[in-house]
Assembly symmetry: C2
Homo-oligomer: 243 residues x 2
DNA sequence: CGAGGGTTTGAAGTGCATCAAATAGTGTGG
DNA sequence: CCACACTATTTGATGCACTTCAAACCCTCG
């Protein structure tokens, strides 16, 4: 359990609060509360009146939209230290997507109203929001490109590359975060396609797969394969930086 | 030919300059010049050092990115009163895409440097940029959804709906702006696919096609077909609002 | 051990891309 | 005004990638 000071400490690392003066910071974080949610919990649904925005401390959330015929588009699956729901202030105060916890999670939520009113008053905060939104923009741009130009195995490769932390030239081991069906949805493909595409990727790049654990001996190899028809040069650099 | 006052007048309608004080406005628009370009003119290429941003007065520009293997992804094709290149200030001052005139055009260009420095000083301008970027975000989000969930005929239908100005329930006539090959690229499909998909759309929705002129007797019909698996309800409302 | 969800595999279908060629349109110079 | 050249658009045939439907296989957990 976190107390008030812990919460403030955690929040202070967020991009959008960088360099903010004490006063503003205190105002904006005033209504913060932490909560624990289990897998399956729906935090909010799209088009609902937006009251609060959220920050992940641990666990994973799925952001998605549903179409009239019931199909679901997974927009993103966010790890810890990501924030979401904050874009509602530019969307007539309606959530632009739904959010569901997909792995037991610890989150902080904050009121949108104070953020919104402070943005109108405080220059630094506004600049931070601007930078934040602009980055998000870049990320989405890449996403569009990937959907249009990459094959299923390449999209998986790109996804794996973004999971690798260190920039080591040698081998890397990682294990997949949430379940494979979800990853498939995140990458816009069917579970079956994911399974087959992963095998194809293995055959093409000498990565090793055992269950949810993947070992990549030669990262460069994977980069060559995955980033071949991506415009942003090799390691999709911009995508990794962004929460 | 526009003189200095005409230019300022034109620019004052831009979203990003809304409500700005005289002082700021004059500073930011100081280096504005208008130019006329012919079809085929490349204004700038991706990753190039960004010095200026642009506003279309007439004609069309194509924004695109090229991948390592030479494939081209058309990001957007913008009509008059759109601005572009301005996002470079959040992209390390490099243009995030290339821009090519696709129809003889009249444009105003402005220096990025002043915009950037003013944004740091002026609250209203910053807020405007923020709103601008946030809208762009919404638009891109929809774009991703469309790529993932809509069929080729549906994407064309959606494109047509966005071209219809009036919200009349009856018939609507419109003619396609730039050539069909470009529309196909904009929608992420091959020209052949476009041609076939357009026929399929015609068969499904009773629209009438003769050359570049399209008559839609029953708009609701088209909406039903095109927006069926789109999450943003019927007439893709948000997309239309944005330049 | 047995139930149930996640994952893989197989077979068949669909949609879009690609290659190739015919056709329609457009602008040119004679 | 016509013939030619050139480009846009359409049409056909074929192939590949991903989806869909179905069934088997795991694996975990009660």
């Amino acid at each position: 359990m976190k107390n008030k000071n812990d919460i403030k400490e955690t929040l202070s690392h967020l991009d959008i609060f960088k360099n903010c003066d004490k006063q503003t910071y205190n105002t904006v974080t005033a209504g913060a509360v932490t909560q624990i949610f289990e897998k399956g919990k729906i935090l909010f649904v799209q088009e609902e009146q937006a009251e609060r925005y959220y920050m992940m401390i641990s666990g994973w959330v799925k952001l998605f939209r549903e179409t009239l015929d019931g199909a679901q588009a997974v927009i993103d699956i966010l790890p810890k230290s990501s924030i979401f729901g904050e874009m509602s202030i530019f969307n007539d105060d309606l959530y632009p997507y739904s959010a569901e916890i997909v792995d037991n999670a610890h989150v902080i939520s904050l009121p949108l109203a104070t953020l919104k009113s402070e943005i109108n008053k405080n220059g630094t905060l506004t600049m931070n929001m601007l930078r934040h939104v602009a980055r998000h923009n870049n990320k989405q741009g890449k996403e569009i490109e990937h959907l249009a130009l990459q094959s299923a195995p390449q999209r998986i490769g790109c996804f794996l590359l973004r999971l690798i932390d260190q920039e080591k030239s040698g081998a890397a081991t990682l294990h997949l975060p949430y379940d494979k069906t979800l990853i498939a949805a995140r990458l816009g493909m069917q579970p079956e396609t994911f399974s087959r595409a992963l095998r194809k990727l293995r055959d093409a790049t000498d990565i090793d797969i055992s269950g949810a654990t993947i070992t990549i001996e030669n990262v460069k190899n994977l980069e060559n394969y995955a980033c071949m028809n991506c415009s942003s040069g090799f390691p999709c650099k911009d995508l990794k930086k962004i929460a």
